[in-house]
Each structure stands twice: as C-alpha cells, then as structure tokens.
C-alpha cells in the first residue's frame, strides 16, 4: 500500500491532514493568546516577551515555517475536499431542512477563509510591515504601545473582534471534528471532545477579544502620551 496514495489521495486521509494540521494551528492559537494576554501585566512584561522571542531566531523561524506548512496543507486539503463535496451533489435539493447539523459545521470553508484573510492582514499589520516601530526605554520593540495604538482605532479593533468571533465559530466545530477524523471520538469521549471544543472556542474568543475591548475602554492610555 502506497502511503502517499492512502493519505493524500483518499477521502479519509485528507481528513487526517485537516485534523493534524488543525491541531497544530489550534495549539498556536492558544500559545499566541497566552502570550498576548501578558499585555495586561504591563509594558515591561509584554515587551520583554517580544524580545525573548526575537532572541531565539532559529526557533522562531522553525515555528513560523512549520505553521506556514500547516496553513498550506490545511488550505490545500480543504479546497480538495470542498471541490469533491460539491461534485458529489450536482443537483441541489430544492427544499433543505438543516435541523440535525449546526450552522458552524456547514460554513467551515467560509469561516476558515475569512480567518485566513484576517491572518494575512494581521501579519502585515503587526509583524511584516508594522506602522509603528517605536522602541521602549530599554531599546526593545515597544509592543505595548503598538497594540494600544492599533486598537485605539475602533475600526481595527472591530475587525479584530469580528475575525476572532469567526475563529471561535471555526474552532467550535473544528476541534471536535479533528478528534472524530483521527478516530478518537467514540463512546464517552465524544461528549468530552464536544464540550472541550465549545469551551476552548469561547475561551479563545474571550481571551483574544478582551485586549481590543480593554483598549477601547481606556486600558493603556497613558502609553500614548
């Protein structure tokens, strides 16, 4: 049996790819959120955290390339799957009753694509071509001030919150499905994974959205003076 054929060309194999890369990306989302939440500990902590990441360029680039590969594979598999799925039903039902499946489960490609668009925008905004490149008193990149500055614009803050709402939506179905696709979700585990998916999806939303919301409510204003 050719492993390439069995994984990359089969329907089940592509779901394994979705699941494994999804799990890695989900891990990143959690790490990224925990890192960002240090902003509430003040400029010192978050700027030091940024400097720490920058001080390990090899590790940083390995993580970046790994994530890029995951995004690429996740997207590739998603497009293949969606194309096959559309082909499998050439003539649509004229009346469809969706009770039995969740809205999130039926719109994964859309929530996923919008989140992807957001990630690209977000990378340019804060990492690749940041508008703000100021340094703090110790000569480190002043992340604290950059974030407060960025989110003082209600439009940026709103777009960030909206994208995170969609991410929450995507995770609420994605996290439970990855366990299903990898064959782990049977018996009592199914209930656990479903609860896990909903809880972490909300956690990510509340965690990430809390930053722009706090800034809009006046958090960190003194940094702008």
């Amino acid at each position: 049996m050719n492993i390439y054929k069995a994984i990359f060309l089969s329907s089940l194999g592509k779901k394994y790819i979705m699941g494994v890369t999804g799990l890695a990306l989900f891990g990143f989302v959690i790490g990224h959120m925990l890192g960002n939440l240090q902003i509430f500990l003040g400029p010192e902590k978050i700027n030091a955290y940024g400097a720490l990441l920058k001080s390990m360029p090899k590790l940083l680039w390995m993580a970046r390339l790994g994530l890029l590969a995951c995004v690429g594979l996740h997207l590739w598999a998603a497009i293949q799957l969606v194309r096959q799925n559309r082909k499998a039903r050439p003539s649509a039902y004229k009346v469809v009753d969706h009770s039995g499946s969740s809205f999130a489960s039926r719109t994964m490609i859309w929530s996923g694509l919008i989140v992807l668009a957001f990630i690209i925008f977000h990378l340019f905004d804060f990492t690749i071509t940041p508008e703000y490149t100021g340094k703090d008193s110790e000569g480190r990149h002043d992340i604290f001030r950059m974030v407060v500055l960025g989110f003082s614009n209600p439009l940026s803050a709103g777009w960030y919150i909206f994208a995170n709402a969609l991410l929450c939506f995507h995770l609420s179905h994605g996290v439970k499905s990855l366990f299903q696709s990898l064959g782990l979700s049977s018996g009592k585990w199914r209930g656990w994974f479903n609860t896990l998916a909903i809880s972490v999806a909300w956690l990510v939303f509340v965690g990430n959205a809390s930053i722009p919301v706090a800034v809009l409510l006046g958090f960190g204003k003194e940094a702008l003076k």
């Binding site: 329907s11 489960s105 696709s181």
Partner: protein, 249 residues
C-alpha cells in the same frame, strides 16, 4: 385530510426534472406515506396520467428500499423511521409537502423518485463480506463474543443500506454506511481476520464511486432510520489509519 403535494418528476437521468403539484384528497391519517402516494397514483392512473414512480419493497422498515426526501429531510425526519413507516398523522390537514429523490452523483435518478443505488452494492462487493465460508449459524457461545462488542456490532449491523445518510449529508458522503458495514464485520471474530484489507478496499471503492467527504455535520445520524451514530465513523477513521500504518510498516 387534504394535502398538496409538490412532487419531483424526472423522466430519466438525462432529463432536467421539475416539480409537479398534485392534490391529495381524503387521506386517512392512519395511512403510511407510501399508501398516501398509492392513493394519489390510483387517481392519476384513472385519469390516464403517468403515475409517480417511487421505490418500495417490504413497507415495514427493514429492507431500505423506500427513499424519499420529504420536506427537505430524508425519510421525513421522524426519529428512527423509514418513509414507509412514516404515518400521515405527522402531517397536518391542508399542508403542502414537497417530495424529492435522494440527490447524489453516485445515485443517478432512474425515474421521478427512484434512484439507482448500485454504488452501494459495488462498495459492498469490494470487501463488505467474509470470504471464508463459516458454515451455518453456530451454536450459542461456541465462539464467545463479549456482550458490549456483540451489542455494538449488532447496532452497526442494523444498517439497511437505504442511503438516507448520503441523501442528508450536504457532501453526499457515504461514510456512515461504509462505517456501519466495516464495523459490523470487523468487530466479530469471523470478520476480524480480513479487517484491514476490507477497510482499505471499501474506502477506495467509496471514493471511486464519487461520494463526498465527511465534515462531521451529523446530518446523517439525525435521519438514519436505524439510529446508527457518528461513533462508527470515528471507528472507521481509526480502522483505516491502523490498516494504512500496518500495511506500510
């Protein structure tokens, strides 16, 4: 009761197909959905019109031949019920009911509401059986099978191959069907021997027929007349993964 039916009429697989509206008068609420269609067809035949073509055989919910999407739900959406076991008391007087065939590329329409489910047979032919002759029914407990395993295999074996899972899935995926067959055979001692080869070839056959992929929406288990659940799909994913791993190492 009096009803209005919007029925999908289609001459053959090439025809585009369209809805035709028919009145259904004096329907008893004790009739099954198919008996109601019989009454409508009798009226059509008397008028010299072509009766509505639909599939049925046992009419007692065990053969899986009936196949109607009623108001957007396969088998009408009553829990654990096939269309032939669906009674008219679940509808209300004066209601408009739309009836469509299973829609999926691997299930071409033969006529009106009848589709060709030969794709399922070909998936079964690819490995959904035990190739060694194991004789007649063995005496009880000559081959011990644990109660939980026996129960689960029995749950999977309930699949009547009607195709409602494919019909309800937004991706026209046959995962629930294949999962039920793979599990029911693979969990019992006679079938366990060929477990790996079976799952590999049945999944390949399923893909070749052009069914879609599972996106875990759960629409299939919601309409399955035999209440086969997503757990079996998880098991199929696990069985396939372990078969691939074993065959490459």
């Amino acid at each position: 009761m009096n009803l209005t039916l919007k029925v999908w009429r289609q001459r053959d697989a090439q025809d585009e197909g369209h809805f035709v509206t028919y009145p259904a008068h004096d329907i008893s609420e004790d009739m099954s959905f198919l008996e109601m269609l019989d009454v409508v067809n009798e009226g059509l035949i008397t008028k010299g019109e072509e009766p509505i073509a639909f599939d049925s055989d046992c009419r007692e919910g065990i053969c899986g031949t009936c196949s109607l999407v009623i108001n957007g739900r396969a088998h009408g959406g009553q829990r654990a019920t096939t269309a032939c076991q669906l009674h008219m008391r679940h509808f209300s007087d004066g209601q408009t009911i739309t009836i469509e065939p299973w829609r999926a590329r691997p299930f071409p329409v033969v006529r009106d509401l009848i589709v060709d489910r030969g794709a399922f047979d070909r998936v079964i032919q690819s490995g959904g059986y035990i190739s060694a002759s194991t004789g007649g029914t063995p005496d009880a407990n000559t081959l011990p099978v644990g109660k939980p395993t026996a129960d689960m295999a029995m749950d999977a074996a309930q699949c009547i191959g009607c195709g409602a899972c494919v019909a309800a899935c937004k991706n026209a995926s046959a995962m629930l069907f294949v999962a039920a067959k793979v599990s029911h055979l693979g969990m019992l001692p006679q079938g366990a021997v060929e477990k790996d080869a079976r799952v590999l070839s049945m999944v390949r056959a399923m893909d070749e027929e052009g069914f879609g992929n599972c996106t875990v929406t759960g629409a299939c288990e919601a309409v399955c007349p035999k209440e086969i659940g997503l757990d079996f799909i998880s098991r199929l994913n696990r069985d396939y993964l372990s078969a691939v791993a074993k065959s490459t190492c």
